[in-house]
């Protein structure tokens, strides 16, 4: 292996000669800087290669001596990786700072070289005092760099930084000298074995060492200075600090870790967790991009720190495991944060910063936020799709979504913590992550410019995008590698097998692969992309068909078939419709992946993929910023619960919930996690907004298909352990009946509330959204029955809901497209303009309301039969009431849109485009077929359910027979048809010379209305009903969640008040932090 000393010599020589080289021109000196960076990079790569191929860590002495006498450097796996990271980040940062470095005095380039070398030294050295020297080199180089391009705010923060850094240095020196005093060595490896350091005195000495290192790691609350630096310094430098510097310091901490005793570890863990939480809470209240990134950065480092200490404290796993998890977090953080800061640098370079040198969060899209004021003067611009993709990748990685490394690390960590029953830790970590996800995704959401308005010029980022793109690509690559080979697989293939991976489940990557390909082809015309997406879905379905058992087949029709329908529907508008097709395909395939997952990790991976892709789809909608945010926050919250449930389940070898444990809380958590996605009452607040504000075809996909994935989740959860291997359920193992009864009531409440809310909506899509929620409520209720009839009802209802909700959303999409509004009272009398859509809606509402002879009645019949047979009488009555309420909004829907008086301005409306009509016709056909022959659907369902439960339902001829009654769908259809024909005949015979009248030919109260088009009775249609029962639905859940959000935000607001901006206060925080830590250590000892 290359002796690292050569590199130090080269760096120093380069730096020392830089003043001379600079005489040749700044270009030459910068070339030298890049050259040195590349040298480090190359060396790190060569070390890594040597080590991975079986090499062992190697020590390099100085002055011809080894450990006790001289300073020793060590190159091991982690060191090599760390140097690689530092060098890579350094090169990217240098590139981002290139322009500034060229203009500033040569000292900037020198300091940059020093910083790079200092960080490498921090990583490589095994000597405690030498570590101090390198810490000082990097610190002083940083101080110099903060001011190098002469931003006034940066000067202020540099001073603050120096105060804190100076205090930390003093502490470190005190620590190191007493370590020498008691341990009689300065070498780390010898100190670890030194007996003198074991006692109380050694503890105190080590404490100062630790405290100094911790302060450098920017713990809460002693990190105000760091935040100011992140906010004000050149973003390239911020990237260096957040990415490279933090990595180096963490590696230093990792090196020192064996020195520390339990008390120290407790301090590290506690401080790290507190930083993680506080950083994220305060981060949620930030307006400025870089300050927010700073908070996030601080929090992430806190988490990595905590994981390192916790791993040792709780013996979470082998050292390799720990390194994999902590390393995963660090890698994730370092790449993502580097990329984001560099992106911010690119923004700045593109002129998005205002004159005061303060960058607004709302740089791209200033619509409705107070923070927009600072950026309001700037002309609106939007990001190019590529820039958006890069930003998206970075943020999603940071948040820990698949397929990025953070996702795998989080899974492993939660799994390990769950194995050791450290629930509160899981709660803290996931809670903090959720808050972080909230504000990072909010930021990302803001980058998406509102469409539809006047065309906005694209922001030119140019070469500035290169750095972020490299980071994003690296993240994605490492994430995929981690996923395929296990988390450590990317680092050390030998160890891959010890950690969970998706090695056996290649299908789960299909959504990502297809989305990537389609994104690359996004420049193609819309119809071609639509066909490609359709082809991808079809190919996927064809390829995986033999992996689907009966249950999955039914769901596959709903999920994949639904996806296909809506991809067709997306052809309704001409043009490229950028981003829509890839996302539709991705959501569809992720739904397929949910079906296919065989392991718990695979299931969760697919679940998160689904959440993520559907969020992107929602965000594509025009006014979806806020709804999309609550969608993803609730989605992630639910996913976290699911993850904990799956991790803590304690499954047996067959992968089933342990007996008796079903009622225990891991199962409950997983259940609640899935109920979030299903939109159960109380957890539904994301639902109406998300469904309403997504693109119209996307709403349909979400409501008709994606919600079925949640239903599938319910079945999968119970049918075994995460994931159904076979269709078997042991009722004995399924805990108390109270659980199912409670779940039933949850479903019932959802059904009732959904229906009631839907009644009073004016927005057509909101109506459908609430209706969707209500229908899912019935499905949950039937599912909770836990018998054959109930499950049959549940599956039947699910399939029907898929059918008619698809029809409704397709028809409504056409109406909205033609009419240009979503308010029902602004429509009317469209039956003549859009007869096919009307017919679709008519059939759909008949089916939805459960009126015979269409399929909907089958669902009602099954539901009530099974409820009454089970003895859930009160539930049956409430369900009856709820389904009555459904009539209200359904009538409202069809009346307000299609019937009544037309609006004058809608006289030119045409029928919906073929892309919408064709799927509607297809669905109508299916609906009719299933109505006439219910057996077509019921046979496969009964086949599934009777394998799980003792059968109580069965066919006798064409009649479905339950213990209580019977239903012959075919005969019903014949009788109804006959009677209807008879009546129609009478009418036809009777009709004579009827004369068509103009629509507005009406008279009431003895007069002709002056403006008859205003007599369309549609607005606040059910106002008396609200007077009567409005009290049932007073948005309690919304208010609860607003309260929760407000509370979190208030805590964050209170926390950030600590950061007064006064450098002296920050210094005070530092000293106070140290004193408090000392006291805590005293308590722990």
């Amino acid at each position: 292996m290359v002796n690292p000393l050569y590199l130090f010599a080269a760096s120093l020589a380069a730096a020392f000669l830089l003043p001379l080289v600079d005489k040749l021109g700044r270009r030459a000196s910068l070339a030298l800087v890049y050259l040195v960076g590349l040298a480090w990079l190359a060396a790190a790569v060569s070390w890594l290669l040597a080590l991975v191929q079986g090499g062992v860590a190697q020590d390099f002495g100085t002055a011809g001596f080894m450990a006790p006498l001289a300073i020793v450097l060590r190159v091991g796996l982690l060191e090599a990786a760390g140097v690689l990271a530092v060098a890579a980040v350094g090169l990217l940062s240098a590139a981002a700072m290139h322009a500034s470095l060229r203009q500033a005095p040569a000292g900037g380039a020198m300091a940059f070289l020093m910083l790079l070398m200092g960080l490498c030294g921090v990583i490589l050295t095994r000597d405690l005092f030498n570590l101090f020297v390198f810490l000082e080199i990097s610190a002083i180089a940083t101080y110099s760099l903060i001011g190098f391009d002469d931003r006034r705010p940066a000067l202020r923060s540099a001073f603050k930084y120096m105060l804190a850094g100076g205090i930390a240095s003093a502490l470190y020196l005190i620590g190191v000298i007493y370590v020498y005093r008691f341990g009689d060595t300065l070498n780390l490896d010898l100190a670890i074995r030194a007996p003198g350091l074991a006692g109380a005195a050694g503890n105190a000495a080590l404490f100062f060492l630790l405290a100094a290192l911790l302060v450098e790691l920017k713990p809460f609350p002693a990190n105000g200075w760091a935040l100011d630096v992140y906010q004000t310094a050149h973003p390239g430098l911020a990237a260096m600090l957040s990415g490279a510097s933090a990595t180096a310091l963490l590696l230093a901490l990792w090196k020192l870790l064996p020195l520390f005793g339990t008390a120290h570890l407790v301090i590290i863990a506690g401080s790290g967790l507190a930083t993680f939480l506080a950083g994220n809470l305060a981060g949620a209240r930030q307006r400025y991009t870089r300050r927010m990134l700073g908070y996030s950065s601080v929090a992430q480092i806190g988490l990595a720190m905590a994981v390192l200490a916790l791993g040792t404290l709780f013996k979470l796993g082998s050292e390799l495991f720990l390194l994999a998890v902590a390393g995963g977090f660090v890698l994730n953080h370092l790449l993502a944060k580097t990329g984001l800061f560099l992106l911010s640098a690119a923004f700045e370079q593109a002129g998005l910063t205002d004159a005061a040198g303060v960058d607004g969060v709302d740089v791209v899209d200033t619509v409705d936020d107070a923070a927009g004021a600072s950026a309001a003067a700037q002309p609106a611009r939007r990001l190019s799709p590529l820039a958006l993709a890069v930003a998206g990748g970075l943020v999603l990685a940071l948040v820990g979504l698949p397929p990025f490394p953070g996702f795998w690390a989080k899974w492993q960590l939660v799994q390990a913590l769950a194995d050791r029953s450290r629930w509160w830790l899981i709660g803290l970590i996931l809670g903090g992550s959720l808050v972080e996800a909230f504000y990072m995704l909010r930021w990302l959401g803001r980058l998406v410019a509102a469409r539809g308005a006047a065309p906005v010029p694209t922001l030119r980022l140019g070469a500035g995008l290169l750095g972020p793109a490299v980071a994003a690509v690296a993240l994605a690559g490492l994430g995929v590698l981690s996923g395929v080979f296990g988390l450590t697989g990317a680092l050390d293939p030998k160890a891959g097998s010890t950690l969970a991976s998706l090695a056996g489940e290649p299908w789960l990557w299909a959504p990502w692969a297809v989305a990537a390909v389609l994104f690359l082809l996004d420049w193609l015309p819309g119809w071609l992309k639509g066909l490609l997406a359709l082809g991808a879905v079809a190919a996927f379905a064809w390829l995986v068909q033999d992996r689907l058992d009966g249950l999955r087949q039914i769901f596959a029709i709903m999920l994949l078939g639904g996806g296909g329908l809506f991809i067709v529907a997306a052809l309704r508008k001409p043009g490229s419709r950028g981003g829509l097709h890839p996302l539709l395909a991705m959501v569809t395939l992720s739904l397929g992946a949910v079906l296919l997952a065989e392991t718990r990790l695979g299931f969760f991976f697919a679940w998160e993929t689904m959440t993520l892709s559907s969020w992107l789809l929602v965000r594509r909608g025009q006014a979806s910023r806020q709804p999309a945010l609550s969608y993803i926050v609730f989605g992630l919250g639910g996913a976290f619960l699911l993850m904990v449930g799956l991790a803590a389940g304690g499954f047996d070898s067959a992968g089933a919930w342990p007996s008796g444990a079903l009622a225990s809380w891991p199962f409950l958590l997983a259940l609640v996690g899935i109920l979030v996605k299903a939109g159960a009452l109380g957890l539904h607040v994301w639902l109406p907004g998300a469904y309403a504000e997504a693109d119209d075809e996307s709403s349909g996909l979400l409501s008709a298909s994606l919600s079925k994935a949640a239903v599938f989740g319910l079945f999968a959860l119970v049918l075994s352990r995460g994931i159904p291997g076979s269709l078997s359920i042991s009722l004995g193992a399924i805990g108390g009946p109270w659980l199912w009864r409670a779940l039933g009531w949850v479903g019932l409440a959802t059904a009732l509330a959904g229906a009631l809310y839907a009644v009073w909506q004016e927005d057509i899509k909101k109506t459908l959204a609430w209706s969707s929620m209500g229908q899912i409520g019935y499905i949950i209720l039937a599912f909770a029955l836990m018998d054959q009839a109930g499950w049959t009802a549940s599956l039947y209802l699910a399939f029907n809901h898929f059918l008619y909700k698809s029809m409704l959303f397709l028809a409504v999409a056409g109406v909205i497209q033609r009419v240009g509004t979503r308010n029902m009272y602004e429509m009317g009398g469209l039956i003549k303009k859009m007869p096919v859509s009307f017919l679709t809606v008519l059939m759909a509402i008949i089916a939805l309301s459960g009126v015979p002879p269409l399929t909907g009645f089958g669902g009602k019949w099954l539901l009530y039969s099974s409820l009454i047979a089970k003895g859930w009488y009160l539930e049956a009555a409430v369900a009856f009431f709820a389904s009555g309420v459904a009539f209200l909004y359904l009538y409202r829907l069809i009346h307000s849109i299609f019937l009544g008086q037309p609006k004058l301005n809608q006289s030119g409306v045409r029928e919906a485009p073929l892309a919408l009509i064709a799927p509607q016709l297809l669905l109508m056909g299916v609906l009719m077929a299933l109505s006439v022959f219910p057996k077509l659907l019921l046979d496969p369902i009964l086949e599934i359910t009777s394998r799980v439960f003792p059968p109580t339902l069965g066919f006798s001829g064409d009649a479905l027979v339950s213990p209580l009654g019977y239903w012959n769908g075919t005969l019903t259809m014949i009788v109804t048809g006959g009677v209807f024909a008879l009546c129609l005949l009478w009418l036809v015979i009777n009709l004579r010379n009827s004369q068509g009248v103009r629509q507005f030919n009406i008279v009431f109260a003895g007069e002709r209305p002056l403006r008859p088009e205003t007599t369309h009775y549609a607005w606040r249609f059910f106002e008396p009903y609200r007077q009567a029962v409005g009290g049932l639905v007073r948005s309690r859940a919304e208010r609860f969640w607003v309260l929760v959000g407000g509370g979190v935000s208030a805590v964050g607001g209170a926390l950030r008040r600590l950061y007064t901006g006064n450098g002296q206060t920050y210094a005070l925080h530092v000293v106070m932090y140290v004193v408090v830590l000392y006291l805590v250590m005293g308590v722990v000892l």
């Binding site: 001011g147 705010p153 202020r156 003093a170 000298i177 006064n1062």
Partner: protein, 122 residues
């Protein structure tokens, strides 16, 4: 007698060193003027240096320089001395940089009180 033992055990260099550290911190935390804070920093640095060297303080020993008659057995610990040399120089570097920033902050039109340089916060 007991008192004497304790006194003998007390390090006469370390105690003023520690006190200087505290005084320096006091100055850093309680004085507003940027330059005064820098002065306090240099006092803190002196204190730290004293503490470091106190570890190498051995009663009755001489400087670790081999010049013929001096026996190795009568020399003090050279390690802290080597470390302090480094620490002093680094202290100077920090002080110089700190002062440069103070000069820039001051001459940029701001006051010299640290309180007025706190625009970034929360």
């Amino acid at each position: 007698m007991k008192l004497a033992a304790i006194l003998v055990h007390l390090n006469p260099v370390a105690i003023p060193g520690a006190l200087l550290i505290l005084i320096g911190l006091w100055g850093i935390l309680a004085r507003q003027n940027l330059f005064k804070i820098a002065v306090a920093f240099s006092i803190l640095g002196t204190g730290v240096n004293l503490v470091i060297l106190s570890v190498g303080y051995i009663r009755g020993r001489t400087a670790p320089i081999l010049d013929g008659e001096a026996a190795v057995a009568s020399m003090t610990d050279p390690v802290p001395q080597a470390l302090v040399l480094t620490a002093i120089v680094i202290g100077l570097a920090v002080t110089a940089l700190l002062l440069s920033y103070a000069v820039r902050l001051r001459s940029g039109g701001g006051g010299s009180s640290i309180e007025v340089h706190g625009d970034e916060k929360w």
